[in-house]
């Protein structure tokens, strides 16, 4: 009798133990030691920003008014026609002299990537003076490099992969600049007299882009055009008075990117094309509807965009960005009453033309650009593509010719390119292959030579991290 009970008891005990273990297993949370990755674990501060008052235009130093007046201009980012192609008839070097090109002068700059604008013998550069803790618009003689004057304002800017980043916009009468922390300043070109300023971050509750302002100011006729982000997407400001002429609403809350506003005429309408952080839009640029959104798309929505849109005559708009974003090609169509925009292509940086910082050049029906570091086997190479399919590479510069983030433009039927370490290349633009005419190191220990190039009257102005140099490129 007792012997029969023992197996039963053992069975019941095992069953009970199993049930207990099962419930323990059910109740035991295997993720109890996990720490959820939630926003805020970095203990991010509220940020410095718009609390300090900046008196735009408060500082002025005059040095000399001795300079040689010349005739040509490179008045803004990407030149007169926004295509980065100089129309100057002056013949330039096909090959550098054995001793290297003639370096006319150099000037010390604050750390950064801002580029020069040139107007009839004067060079304008927005620089950050770390010692003075101030943005300064500096004016130099193009021929001698003598500094003429500087106009600026105190503002605290920390080193963040350089400080200055933009190119001034210059007309015969005015100069407009945008500083690292979105301070817009307008001065008289000839004298440097201050006219007006806007603290965009404060006035429009904008966010200063990640690596400070990269947007270069645009002057269109008598209007300064600034893409503000924040409470307005874009504004037009009267150059002479500083009065706001129009403001484009920004209901979607798009933010200011590092990209610049590009004027474009299509379907009989002039418009400003802007790639914001949030989307891309075309804003009416003339007539009673100036400032109105003609078309917009959120299909292009990247967190960091530095290159500007490349607008082509048939309504194609190519836009690209770094940090893994890749590129998109849009087709803009005009139906008489309005515009529609639709994506034609979207791809990763390793699948076709893509650029991280510089804007590609549209020449002879083709696009030329340097691929980013994540551009696959063609990374950092100069490539040529047809806009009908920018994924098909017409030619590339080859594995021995990689250029990084340096700038390039065209002049005198040449591509003039500076790699980020300071070697200057002369290339023959071609649709059939990479043709290098010559190359020379112009900056001995160059680094971060990213700023756009400027050329007028045969004088090439370029810069690297801390110095600007002027090279005589005349034949």
């Amino acid at each position: 009798m007792d012997q029969n009970k023992i197996p039963n008891r053992v069975t019941y005990a095992l069953a009970g133990l199993s049930a207990l273990l099962f419930f323990w297993w059910l109740l035991n949370d295997p993720t109890r030691d996990f720490i959820p990755s939630l926003p805020g674990l970095d203990n991010r501060g509220k940020g410095a920003g718009a609390n300090d008052t900046v008196n735009i235009g408060e500082l002025f130093d005059s040095y000399t008014n001795d300079y040689t007046q010349l005739t040509e201009t490179w008045p803004r980012f990407r030149g007169e026609d926004f295509d980065n192609i100089s129309k100057s008839p002056i013949a330039l070097l096909d090959k550098f002299p054995a001793a290297g090109p003639e370096i006319l002068w150099s000037a010390e700059l604050g750390e950064g990537h801002s580029g020069a604008a040139i107007y009839k013998g004067l060079v304008y550069m927005l620089d950050y003076d770390e010692k003075e803790q101030a943005d300064f618009l500096r004016c130099f003689s193009l021929v001698s490099g003598k500094e003429q004057w500087r106009r600026g304002y105190k503002v605290h800017v920390k080193r963040n992969h350089g400080m200055s980043r933009t190119v001034p916009a210059v007309t015969d009468s005015f100069i407009v600049t945008i500083g690292p922390r979105c301070h817009v300043m307008c001065v008289e070109r000839a004298t440097g007299n201050f006219r007006w300023g806007i603290d965009v971050e404060k006035e429009y509750q904008s966010e200063v882009p990640l690596w400070y302002t990269g947007q270069c100011a645009l002057i269109d006729g008598q209007t300064a055009v600034i893409a503000t982000g924040g409470t307005a997407l874009m504004i037009g400001v009267d150059l002479a008075s500083g009065q706001k002429i129009w403001e484009t609403p920004n209901p979607k809350g798009w933010k200011m990117s590092h990209s610049s506003v590009i004027p474009f005429v299509f379907g009989g309408r002039k418009m400003y094309v802007y790639s914001a952080s949030g989307g891309m839009a075309g804003i009416a640029a003339e007539g009673p509807e100036t400032g109105k959104v003609l078309w917009e798309t959120t299909a292009w929505n990247k967190s960091v965009v530095a290159p500007s849109p490349v607008c082509m005559p048939d309504g194609k708009i190519f836009i690209t960005a770094g940090y893994g974003a890749g590129s998109m090609m849009f087709q803009l169509k005009s139906d008489g009453d309005g515009f529609s925009v639709s994506p034609l292509l979207e791809y990763k940086p390793s699948e076709g033309l893509a650029c991280e910082q510089q804007t590609p050049i549209y020449w002879n029906g083709h696009l030329f650009g340097i691929l980013p570091k994540d551009g696959g086997s063609l990374r950092n190479q100069l490539i040529c593509v047809n806009p009908s399919d920018t994924r098909k590479v017409v030619w590339s510069s080859g594995s021995e010719k990689r250029f990084g983030l340096g700038p390039y433009f065209m002049a005198d039927h040449k591509i003039i390119m500076l790699n980020e370490e300071g070697t200057l290349y002369l290339l023959k633009p071609s649709l059939s292959g990479y043709v290098e005419l010559d190359a020379v190191k112009v900056i001995p220990d160059g680094q971060d030579a990213w700023a756009p190039l400027a050329l007028a009257d045969g004088y090439l102005v370029l810069r690297y991290s801390k110095k600007m140099i002027c090279i005589n490129m005349r034949k």
């Binding site: 970095d42 410095a48 920003g49 920390k158 967190s303 940090y323 974003a325 570091k373």
Partner: protein, 189 residues
Amino acid sequence: MENDKLKSRREFIRGSARLSLAIALGSIGGWSVSSMTSEKWVWQIDPFTCTQCGRCATDCVKTPSAVKCVHAYQLCGYCDLCGGYFKPGSNALTTAGENQLCPTAAISRIFIEEPFFEYRIDEDLCIGCAKCVKGCSSFGNGSLHLQIMHNICDNCNQCAIAKNCPSNAIKRVKASEAYKVKGSFTKEG
């Protein structure tokens, strides 16, 4: 006569013993000196040759891999948008899990001051997948890079990762210079 024979035998045995002892001591001393002076060799990754293929995470005989990410702080830009921390196109620059590139959350970021952040690697969590290294190399200064940790590595005769490394980035190096940390180590050739 008999005593002389015994004496010479004893002397012979003593002499032999002394000689054996001297040889033994000499051998031990020589071996010790030799092992103290001869250089040991270990496996290490050349960060400038590494292509971040991901095989360090999968091909090492150790689980998790003896390869870990290390951070050269002097090269780091302390960026808000860190290509080694955030997935490309992440929704927001926050520490939310969906924004992070590291599959094991081995990288933490700490706010220093606007707009700078410090990035730290938790070696216990790191599996050596190199995703962060790829991001940092593509979009940053390349301050994140992989190294074989010799407190974990078995120093196999034939390193399983070196055998399968597509760029031959893993080589034998002297144990006295066991790490090739960027900043102190610069590109060869």
